[in-house]
Symmetry: C2
Subunit: 220 residues, 2 copies
Amino acid sequence: MHQHNCVSLVPLFSQLSEQEQDTVNSIVHQHHYQTGETIFAAGDSMDALMIIASGQAKVFQLASNGKEQLLHLLTAGDFDGETALFSQAKHNSFAEALMPTMICQINRTEFQQLMQKYPTISLNLLNELGRRMTELEKRTTQTSTSSVESRLADYLVETSAQFGKNDFKLPLKKKDLATYLGTTPETISRKLGELERNGLIEQTGSKQICIVDQEALEML
Amino acid sequence: MHQHNCVSLVPLFSQLSEQEQDTVNSIVHQHHYQTGETIFAAGDSMDALMIIASGQAKVFQLASNGKEQLLHLLTAGDFDGETALFSQAKHNSFAEALMPTMICQINRTEFQQLMQKYPTISLNLLNELGRRMTELEKRTTQTSTSSVESRLADYLVETSAQFGKNDFKLPLKKKDLATYLGTTPETISRKLGELERNGLIEQTGSKQICIVDQEALEML
DNA sequence: CGTTCTTTTGATGTTTCTCAAGGCAGGTGG
DNA sequence: CCACCTGCCTTGAGAAACATCAAAAGAACG
């Protein structure tokens, strides 16, 4: 019945045997979201761990002045909602599907039982939280210590590394990329133009980027 | 021998019985640091959980351009180093004592054994990491969506709430406060002056702040 | 193939940083 | 107990980076 096997996608459960994974899989609830659909909103009570089975979603906050801040980009195998599995009961951020997206959920109580049964899960969870913490710390530091140009350069290098190619398609609309990097779409557009004029990158299609001089990008 | 009982200070261990806490206490190593002394540096291998028994320390990163970013302010009962108890082996940040400070350490392997023995510890750890994640997300959002003035106002309100008084002493040098809020000492100085001229606060001594109009501060 | 959302480009404005210099405070040694 | 010294804070003037606003061009989608 669970045609998209979320569980096997997630490192969280990777140490479990196939049988055990099947058990986990059987308590999973599936949901499908269309592009632009809200997965959860700030203020919603948070009672389940969410795993992206397929597709893509953005997690963001809204400041009181209405500005958006992109916190995480979730793709297949990523999960969210874990922080609230223990402490607070409310989401403090929003999640929205960026394309048709399949999500698997595990209820709080059931997840807690899983953690009791398989302690390795909580270790994996601690690891993943640590990883995110580290990443967010880095981003915070960058946002307040370096220029948009260097943040953008860093983002391009890292993204190309993730794809394993010099030539890749931005996984985000520039509008969203802007809020991710703590700037505006206009500035992104201008800085990309500047990088191209300086021969560090090439913009082939819309969103299609090719890194020409990685060395120089990393220098920023 | 362990005159400063760190263990009882830390919520991490609060669910343990007194006997169990004694056990934990017996594997703790103490260190003392003087004002300005480095507790750990980026690149150091991270092999212990650190608990502040008394005093205060700042955790910060250094950007490639030499700028400092204050990530956390640790006071008695806070701990750090947990992210590395599982995954990476190197610190990515620095910690420095801001006053004479007593630190208790628990080695990685011993801490892992503790977690095996008392699963409640890992739950507490997950909670605390979640709390920090939430706080850092908020700060990231604020840094890139609102002005220095409103970040500062928010900081003042929150700090006064922590002290439970309208009248309090800043726990940080303005220099450090500046890097915490992602700005410069000069700007902090000017904005505080502005808030005072507008009748929202009063600056009595150096670092001594009195909140006059909390409502208005929260509006920013 | 038109409608809508995104992106680009230009002109302008503002916030905040930078640099420089003077004042203040707190700690140290005489 | 005072005078000094060092680092911290303030204040000003100028510059830079970036945001904002407006409008046109370009994608994406049904």
